[in-house]
Amino acid sequence: MTTTTTPPGTGLGTSGSRLGAPGFGRLVRAEWTKLRSVPRWGLIMLAAVGLTILVSLLSASGSSFQANLVAPPPTGPEGGQVTDTFRFVHQPLSGDGTITARVRGLAAIEGPNHPWAKAGIMVKDGTTPGARYAAMLFTPGHGVRWQTNFVVDEAGSIASGEPWLRLTRTGDTVTGYESTDGTDWREAGSVELTGLPATAEVGIFVASPPSDRVERQFNGTSVTSRPTWSTARFDNVGVRPASGQQPATWTDEAIGMVEQAKPNAPGAGRVAPVAPDAPAGLDGPGVPPAALLSGVPDATGASTVTGTGDVAPRAVDEDLTRMSLSGALIGLMPIVALGALFITAEYRRGMIRTTFAASPRRGRVVLAKAVVVAGVTFAVGLVTCVTAFLVTQPSQRDSGFVPPLFPDRSLTDWPVARAVLGTALVLALVAVFSLALGAILRRSAGAITVVVLLMVLPQMVAGALPLTAARWMMRLLPSAGFSIQQTNPRYEHVSTVCLPETGCMPDSPWLGVAVLAGYVVVAVAAACWLVRRRDA
């Protein structure tokens, strides 16, 4: 309810008192009038739109991918590409049942242990790469894990030692247990593997992911990925079918290895000795002799298994959505200029005095400007990003980024929508950041330089810095906001090489935006404080 009565005794009766305090909306409307009434600023916005789309298009048509050289990787049950390469000593289990084993040690054959090397037990829908599975496993770096269908990874409670592991199948449900002594069992996870056939493969397995070595010099980075081999010792390996039947016989198999080691490959410098019982795929060059130290469990249930590879989602280097939106880094520059000019133009001509005389509460003026510039930039940025995403799709397909390796993407996929909305949000935040610095410095050149340097320079100099320093720089500077453009999922249980110079952001999408937003909040607060304190 609004009231128009004047409190008794005041009786000032001036127009100002009757109307009360001007709403924030008035200030926003005034600032919007200012923004829309300077045609040059509209041109700056158009330049941002044009540059973003143009640079995105160039980037899309400039990169290429030769799909025919790479065999399509298997697809996991949850969708998405997976790596499914490991040593599996297994046997069929019909119906319900249990498999138990104790991991007595897991170590790399040469070099340091890979933190995500895996030794454990598995129930899997056959031996085709990409088939659904549930596993209890031990890793040197991350203790006992419960992992299913490549994407699920949960930590168990045992971090080191010689853990007992158990999987129990009941219908479609597989439950994982861990124990330190083989008597007290704790449940670590449970999953329903819908469609698991009556006879599944169960067994012990070892995987050892490739280790990446990064060599960085200015203007050049090379990533060398070398396979690692790890050996695990098991004991107390036992399969107990619920039906009470005798366990079947063991098969030692290298799953998904055929592609990796090609016999008689040209230029093979070393011929590995071939053990008579070496499983398929483990007989190529580059396979250390020790890798063949493997065997099915003996009568006491003891076994040694050596393996390589990984059972995990496949890390995709190319992020097509990020590529589609890469022009935003350049399109950002006109927006930085606009944000700064929106207030420095007033300082330059003394118009700021007219503004502050009309609205003596100066902090609110800065906030109103921020609202207007953010709103306009977000709206324009959103249209730009959607357009850039749509127009770059055909050129990306022409460049070889085609299914199945690069599935079709749509604006309705959340990661894509997040990247598109997020990029518009980043542009809006940058505009406000620039506005705030313009208010602080009162000079266009200074404000624009600072913001452009903070947003663009990190990607340019990242290659010249040590990796750790480069990553921290990408984390801590406002350019971290661009992490929102990343759409490829990241998994904690997959080691990836994240190189800042290739645009990989170390942070998760929203954390990066939060870093940028933090800068914006601090800058706006400083701007409000300064404009109130200073003479206009």
């Binding site: 000032l12 001036t14 127009s15 100002g16 008192s17 109307l19 009360g20 305090a21 001007p22 709403g23 008035r26 200030l27 409307r29 005034a30 600032e31 009038t33 200012k34 009434s37 300077v38 045609p39 040059r40 600023w41 133009a345 007033e346 001509r349 003394g350 118009m351 005095r353 007219t354 503004t355 502050f356 005389a357 009309a358 609205s359 003596p360 509460r361 003479d535 206009a536």
Partner: protein, 317 residues
């Protein structure tokens, strides 16, 4: 709200430079108060302090009894022209007034009214960058009038105006005062205020030199002198000197007499049958009165530290 501006002990310094020192005055409703002093005297600084743009180091400035920052729709209470150049050159004149109107919740109708009032009707949709200085002054005045405020401040409004414009603004200032508004007009040229200001605040080196009505200032400067025109100059001078007056010859037929009222001069000359063609009370111009007042200020101008002067002038810009 009572239509007044009140300064009490205003002080402001920029670094080592004292811009305004202990300045107190009142600008009452219903008259045009001239605010005069040489460039760098502190006029613009004072106006900025009244408008809450610069914070005084001491003292207070009140508009209608309240500090400026307490006003919620200040354009409805105080109109100000500070710097006619303070307009974005890419913005149309009408849009410049429009955002100001929006910021204080004024109706769009007011924008069109003040544009007509200042005679910019034909240029309302032109970009301010193409305006002459005179047109910008008119736009600045339109901005000051936008909220129909009872208190108005104009800093050097005559700058850049053509004679027609000067006549127009004098009429405008007088009519604004006649409507009961308090009007403060600054100028570094006394002559600009002649014929429009009723009252004068004379300021030099940031200090108030005189706070006086125009009539009183002129009377002081004229100093009761009488100018006499006669063909018998020598005899007339002797008679008047004997009567106790100080007489000075200006030219062959003109003398000035001080120390005797005009009636006594006429009576003495008539008694001796000395023919004269003209006896007038000598009227100093406002400019003369001002120069007399600021004799010290002129001295100061000559001896002032040039650095200090530049610094102050910089703030004026």
């Amino acid at each position: 709200m009572e239509a007044t501006i009140e300064a009490r002990g205003l002080r402001k310094r920029y670094g080592a430079t004292v811009a305004v020192h202990d300045l107190s005055f009142t600008v009452p409703a219903g008259r045009v108060t001239g605010f005069v002093g040489p460039n760098g005297a502190g006029k613009s600084t004072t106006m900025r302090m009244i408008l809450g743009l610069d914070a005084p180091d001491g003292g207070t400035a009140l508009v209608g009894g309240r500090p400026y920052h307490a006003l919620r729709t200040p354009l409805r209470e105080v109109g100000a022209l500070l710097d006619a150049g303070a307009v974005h050159p890419g913005r149309r004149a009408r849009d410049h007034l429009l955002w100001m109107a929006h910021s204080n919740g004024l109706p769009t109708r007011r924008v069109d009214e003040v544009i007509e009032q200042v005679g910019l009707g034909g240029a309302a949709r032109r970009r301010a960058g193409g305006f002459s200085l005179g047109m910008r002054q008119r736009l600045g005045i339109a901005a000051a009038l936008l909220g129909d405020p009872p208190v108005l401040l104009f800093d050097e409004p005559v700058n850049g105006l053509d004679p027609e414009g000067i006549r127009w603004i004098r009429g405008l200032l007088r009519s604004l005062a006649a409507q009961g508004r308090a009007v403060l007009v600054s100028s570094h040229l006394m002559g600009e205020l002649e014929g429009s200001a009723d009252h004068l605040l004379v300021i030099g080196r940031g200090r108030l030199i005189a706070d006086t009505s125009v009539a009183a200032l002129l009377a002081t400067a004229s100093g009761d002198r009488v100018a006499l025109r006669t063909s018998r100059r020598a005899e007339a001078m002797e008679v008047l000197a004997n009567a106790g007056a100080t007489v000075a010859a200006i030219d062959a037929e003109t003398v000035t007499v001080s120390g005797l009222p005009a009636e006594r001069v006429v009576a003495l000359l008539t008694a001796r049958a000395l023919a004269f063609s003209e006896v007038v009370a000598h009227r100093a111009t406002l400019e003369e009165a001002y120069l007399e007042l600021t004799g010290n200020a002129a001295e100061f101008t000559a001896t002032a530290d040039p650095a200090e002067f530049t610094a102050t002038a910089g703030r004026e810009a």
